[in-house]
């Protein structure tokens, strides 16, 4: 099945933030007022109610020139998604488009995905049920998978007026990124394509004007080693151990019945009588 990619060329972005409200509008997300952050940026990072945030960065490049950089930041939809790996409820899954989605019916709000996302894009939201009892659900960008299913593009891409965002098959988008990179290398010598292989590549692919660290992105993100140790080793082994112990005891019970007949039945009874 063809995989799709949201291709973000940050050098074309003019920071209008239509993507932020388009997302809220389509997904019916409430506003989330914040304190003044000292720049034009509205939120420090993505949250459960703000699935994409426009970053504004003032960066002095190697030549001492000022660069005013913008980045639409949202879920990367990793090919090897740590969130999917650690979710204990199988609430997180890959879609046929390549997006990674959270099934809200299955999510129990444990927050494992929140802590393990290498990009820190997932957050928990607290709700109140009709009895006033609180419960939590994990949220992040869905890549508008509901729109994809109807043949529409993600809301953020649809509204982007500078062409900084495009949506299409991976085969079509990656060469575009390559081509764009060669065009902008003159102006941005540190420009790079951000499609980190440590997580198997992502379905949000960036052309960045500067090194990933300038945008606060990990240079080489991976599924955390702890998550691998935990999910690929500890948990299966743990389950096996539990199984083995149980089997051993079942065995013990049976053999006791078989071989320990003459045994200490009276004394057992005696012991029991003291309860």
């Amino acid at each position: 099945m063809t995989k799709y990619v949201k291709y973000v060329d940050v050098t074309k972005c003019d920071g209008c933030r239509a993507c932020m409200v388009a997302c809220k509008n389509w997904n019916d997300l409430p506003a989330e007022p914040t304190d003044f952050l000292g720049s034009v940026q509205s939120h420090a990072k993505t949250t459960a109610d703000t699935w994409n945030v426009l970053q504004y960065i003032e960066h002095e490049n190697g030549k001492g020139d000022l660069e005013y950089l913008f980045r639409h930041s949202s879920c990367f939809h990793c090919t090897d998604a740590a969130c999917e790996k650690v979710c204990p409820e199988n609430a997180i899954s890959y879609t046929k488009y390549g997006s990674v989605v959270i099934d809200q019916d299955k999510c129990v709000g444990c927050g494992y995905c929140v802590q393990n996302c290498p990009f820190e894009v997932i957050s928990l939201k607290t709700y109140k049920d009709k009895n006033g009892k609180e419960y939590r659900k994990s949220h992040k960008c869905t890549m508008c998978t509901d729109r994809l299913e109807e043949g529409l593009q993600p809301a953020c891409v649809t509204t982007c007026h500078t062409g900084a965002m495009e949506f299409g098959s991976k085969e079509a988008m990656l060469p575009k990124a390559d081509k764009r990179l060669s065009e902008i290398k003159g102006r941005f010598p540190n420009a790079n394509i951000y499609n980190p292989q440590g997580v198997g590549g992502t379905h949000t692919v960036y052309v960045l004007a500067e090194k990933p660290s300038v945008y606060g992105l990990p240079e080489n993100p991976r599924v955390p080693a702890s998550a691998i140790a935990w999910k690929d080793y500890a948990q299966p082994i743990g389950k096996m151990m539990l199984g083995a112990t149980t089997m051993a005891l079942v065995g013990a019970f049976v053999t006791n019945r078989l071989f320990n007949k003459e045994g200490r039945s009276e004394s057992q009874d005696g012991g029991g009588s003291h309860e």
């Binding site: 063809t2 799709y4 209008c16 933030r17 239509a18 932020m20 409200v21 388009a22 509008n25 389509w26 046929k96 488009y97 099934d103 019916d105 998978t145 509901d146 994809l148 299913e149 109807e150 043949g151 529409l152 593009q153 809301a155 649809t158 509204t159 982007c160 007026h161 949506f167 299409g168 098959s169």
Partner: protein
């Protein structure tokens, strides 16, 4: 009335995925049960009306999706050659012009010296406004000035209108001048 070719350019050729999904939905065995079960596609049964953005002077086209007597979504009009379906943050948010809890929904009156609004009905408001307009006009109307006909009142001002429709500005311009108002301004200067 409105000739529309909705979302034409927005459709993505998902290698037949669309057709397949739709067909499956129709047949009633959508493989994506989770979505189909709990959530109807947001704009599936909405009415779509084209409008023009009410903010800056670029004149972008916007589609307003309405359902169950509320606005459920607003997005760029892909057919409008000015913006080709694209919008800025303000245009994208048009929906909240309708849904905002801060919208005024009733005529409000504040009496002289009062520290609060009172709700009034439209008829009372417009009658009283007409009365005040007439009182002021009648007491200040100048027919002749230095021997020439001037037919004006310099005690009433009308300000604003740069966000009104053309037809409204026309009637406003006509009404105010008909009453003799010379302090007539909109926001071109500010």
């Amino acid at each position: 009335m409105v000739e529309m070719n909705l979302n034409r350019r927005q459709f993505l050729k998902l290698s037949g995925a669309t057709a397949a999904t739709l067909a499956i939905v129709e047949l009633g065995f959508n493989e994506k049960k989770a979505y189909a079960k709990t959530k109807e596609f947001k704009i599936a049964k909405a009415t779509v009306t084209p409008t023009i953005c009410c903010y800056c002077g670029v004149g972008c086209g916007i589609l307003v999706h309405t359902k169950n007597n509320t606005v459920v979504y607003t997005e760029g009009d892909p057919d409008n050659p000015i913006n080709e379906g694209k919008l800025c943050s303000k245009g994208t948010t048009l929906r909240q012009l309708y849904t905002s809890e801060k919208r005024l929904t009733k005529p409000l009156y504040r009496a002289p010296g009062s520290n609060k609004w009172e709700e009034k009905d439209w008829d009372w408001m417009l009658d009283t406004i007409a009365k005040r307009t007439k009182e002021t006009r009648d007491s200040s109307f100048v027919e002749m000035e230095n021997g020439i006909t001037v037919n004006k009142t310099e005690k009433i001002a009308s300000l604003g209108g740069a966000a009104l429709d053309n037809e409204e500005t026309y009637l406003l311009s006509k009404l105010m001048r008909g009453l003799g108002v010379v302090y007539l301004e909109h926001q071109a200067r500010i």
